[in-house]
C-alpha cells in the first residue's frame, strides 16, 4: 500500500556544498565545503548561533548564497524545485488546518489531483502513526504528534533531500526517542538524503552516518566524525560511542580533546 507513496520517489539525491558562503547583514554566517552521498544521514552539530540552521535554510531556498555554490543532484537548483523539503523546529503546521488537511496542503501544492490526495494523505498519516488523529487541529495534538504531522507533510512533498532543523529539539526525552526511531524507519523505506541540525551529541551519534562538527560563527567545519556503527541499536553499549561523543563535546569546548591518532580535517 504505502509503496504507492514511495514508488514515484527517487531515492536520495547527492548534495554538494562547494565553498558555499552565506552572509548575514553584519558579516559571514557560514562558509563550508561538504559532499553528502545519496541516502546518507549527515548531522550538523555546533554551538548555538553558529549558523547551522542557516546552512539548511540556504539549501531550502530560504536564504541567498553569497559565494560558492550548493548543488543538489549536480544542479544548482535549491528548495522545492530540487526536491529539498524542510522540517522546522517550531510549530510550522497551519493551525487552522487539521492534521489531514495540513498534509493535503503539501500534496495540493505539488499538483496532486484532488481525488488521489485522500488516499495519499491516509498513507502518509499511517506511516507516522497518526491515523486516529487525522481530523484533529494542531492545538489538539501534543508536541510530538505535531512533529509527526510535520514529517508527514514534508514527506508528502516527496523530497529527495530532507532538511531537518532541530526537529525534535523541543520534545521530551521519551518522545524524542520515539521520533528518532520513526525517522529511521521512514528513512529505511525511502533512503532519502538527510541533513539534520541538532545540538544533541547523542542524537547525532544515534542517527548519523557522519557528524559534521561546526565552529562558532561563521560556521566552518571543525571536524567530520564518521560514526563507527551507524544506527546500530546497540551502538550506545560500544566503546566508540562514548569516545566519539567525548571527542565531539571537546570540539564544542566541553572538556579535553582526547588524543586521537588521525585528524582528518
Amino acid at each position: 500500500m504505502s509503496s504507492a507513496v514511495v514508488a514515484s520517489t527517487d531515492a536520495g539525491a547527492p548534495v554538494e556544498l562547494d565553498k558555499m558562503r552565506i552572509d548575514y547583514a553584519d558579516g559571514p554566517a557560514a562558509h563550508l565545503d561538504l559532499k553528502v552521498s545519496p541516502g546518507e544521514i549527515v548531522m550538523l552539530l555546533g554551538p548555538s548561533g553558529c549558523g547551522k540552521s542557516t546552512i539548511l535554510r540556504a539549501l531550502a531556498g530560504l536564504q541567498p548564497i553569497a559565494a560558492g555554490a550548493a548543488r543538489i543532484d549536480g544542479l544548482v537548483r535549491l528548495g522545492p524545485e530540487a526536491h529539498c523539503a524542510m522540517v522546522f523546529q517550531e510549530d510550522a503546521l497551519l493551525p487552522w488546518r487539521t492534521a489531514r488537511r495540513n498534509v493535503e496542503f503539501a500534496l495540493a501544492l505539488r499538483g496532486v489531483p484532488r481525488r488521489e490526495r485522500k488516499q495519499l494523505v491516509l498513507e502518509l498519516l499511517d506511516q507516522v502513526g497518526l491515523t486516529p488523529f487525522a481530523d484533529h487541529l494542531p492545538k489538539q495534538l501534543s508536541g510530538g504528534m505535531r512533529q509527526r504531522v510535520q514529517l508527514a507533510r514534508t514527506l508528502a512533498a516527496e523530497p529527495r533531500v530532507l532538511l531537518m532543523d532541530e526537529p525534535f529539539g523541543a520534545l521530551d526525552a521519551q518522545t524524542r526517542l520515539d521520533m528518532q526511531e520513526l525517522l529511521i524507519s521512514v528513512w529505511r523505506q525511502r533512503r532519502t538524503t538527510i541533513l539534520f541540525v541538532t545540538h544533541d551529541v547523542d542524537e547525532a551519534l544515534l542517527l548519523a552516518d557522519r557528524v559534521v562538527v561546526l565552529t562558532p560563527r561563521p560556521a566552518r567545519i571543525a571536524r567530520i566524525v564518521a560514526v563507527a556503527h551507524p544506527r546500530d541499536p546497540d551502538a550506545q553499549l560500544q566503546p566508540e560511542f562514548g569516545l566519539q561523543g567525548k571527542e565531539i563535546l571537546a570540539l564544542l569546548g566541553h572538556g579535553q580533546l582526547p588524543p586521537t591518532e588521525d585528524r582528518k580535517d
Partner: protein, 289 residues
C-alpha cells in the same frame, strides 16, 4: 443642548456591547442555588434601571435633571408595539440595515485588500499610507455636507459615510496582522513549493482572520454610529431619520423606541460578527474545541 453625535452615541448602547460574561455562571461545587443566584446577577441592575426609569417618569421628578417630559417604559413599550405593526416602520428598519450592510461589506473588502497590500508591499505602503493617515482622523460625520454635494442621491451619500467610518479599523487591523504572522508558516509553505498567490490565500488570509475580525467588530460599531447620524441629518428613510422625526413631532416615546431599536440592531449585527469570527477562528488556542 446635546449635539447630534452625542445623542447618537447615547442611542447606540448595543454597538459595542460585549455579550454577558459566562464566567459568572460556571456550574459545579457552588451548588444549584448559588449558580442560579450568579445567573440572576446580570439581571438585577437591568431591572433596577427600568424600575428607576419608571418611578422617575411616573412621578415627573424634577431635580436638576427633568423627567417631566421623558416617556416612561410603558409608553415606550406601547410605542414599540404599535410601530412594529406598521409597514412603514419596518421599512425604515430595512432601509437602515441595507445601508449598514452595503457600507460595511464594501469597507470590509476594501479594508482587507488595502491592509494586505500595505502590509506586504513597500510600494503600496508608500503610495497609500500617507493618504490613509491624512483621511483617518476626519470623523465620518464631518463628511455629511460633502457627501450631500458629491453624491446624486442621499442614499449613496449615507452608504459612503458608513463605508468611510468602517474602512479604517479593518485596514489598520489587517495591516498590523501582516507583521505578526509567524514567518515559519510562510517558510514552510514556500519550501513546499507555494507561490505568492498560494501563500496569500492559504497562509496570509487565514492567518490574519483573528485580527481582521477584531477590526470588523470595531467597524460594525462605528458603522452604526455613522449611519444613524447621517440619517438624522440627511436621510429620508431609516431608523435614525425616524427617531429624529419623532423628536420633531414631539413623539418622545417614539424617540426612545427608535433608540432601543437602533440598540437592538447594533447588538444583533455585532453578535453575528462575533459568532462568525468564532467559527472562522476556532483554531485559536483560546477557543474551546
Amino acid at each position: 443642548m446635546t449635539t447630534t453625535e452625542e445623542r447618537v452615541l447615547q442611542a447606540v448602547p448595543g454597538a459595542e456591547a460585549p455579550p454577558v460574561e459566562r464566567a459568572l455562571s460556571s456550574p459545579g461545587r457552588g451548588g444549584r442555588l448559588a449558580a442560579a443566584a450568579a445567573r440572576s446577577l446580570p439581571i438585577v441592575p437591568i431591572v433596577g434601571a427600568v424600575l428607576a426609569w419608571h418611578l422617575l417618569t411616573t412621578y415627573d421628578v424634577i431635580a436638576w435633571l427633568r423627567f417631566d417630559k421623558v416617556p416612561g417604559p410603558l409608553d415606550v413599550f406601547h410605542s414599540l408595539r404599535v410601530q412594529f405593526e406598521t409597514a412603514e416602520f419596518r421599512q425604515h428598519v430595512v432601509s437602515s440595515l441595507g445601508r449598514i450592510l452595503s457600507g460595511f461589506a464594501l469597507a470590509s473588502l476594501v479594508g482587507v485588500v488595502v491592509g494586505i497590500g500595505i502590509g506586504r508591499s513597500k510600494v503600496v505602503a508608500a503610495l497609500l499610507r500617507p493618504l490613509i493617515e491624512i483621511a483617518r482622523p476626519i470623523p465620518a460625520i464631518a463628511l455629511v455636507p460633502l457627501a450631500i454635494l458629491l453624491f446624486p442621491t442621499s442614499e449613496q451619500g449615507i452608504i459612503f459615510i458608513t463605508f468611510f467610518a468602517a474602512v479604517f479599523p479593518v485596514t489598520v487591523a489587517t495591516m498590523h496582522a501582516m507583521k505578526t504572522l509567524p514567518l515559519v508558516w510562510m517558510d514552510a509553505a514556500s519550501t513546499l513549493g507555494a507561490n505568492r498567490r498560494q501563500v496569500l490565500f492559504h497562509i496570509v488570509l487565514p492567518g490574519a482572520m483573528p485580527a481582521i475580525f477584531s477590526g470588523l467588530s470595531v467597524s460594525m460599531g462605528v458603522a452604526w454610529i455613522c449611519v444613524v447620524s447621517a440619517e438624522m441629518i440627511s436621510g429620508q428613510f431609516g431608523v435614525g431619520y425616524w427617531t429624529w422625526m419623532s423628536y420633531s413631532l414631539l413623539d418622545y416615546a417614539g424617540v426612545v423606541a427608535g433608540m432601543l431599536t437602533i440598540g437592538a440592531l447594533g447588538f444583533t449585527t455585532s453578535w453575528l460578527i462575533e459568532r462568525l469570527g468564532r467559527r472562522v477562528n476556532r483554531w485559536l488556542p483560546g477557543e474551546a474545541r
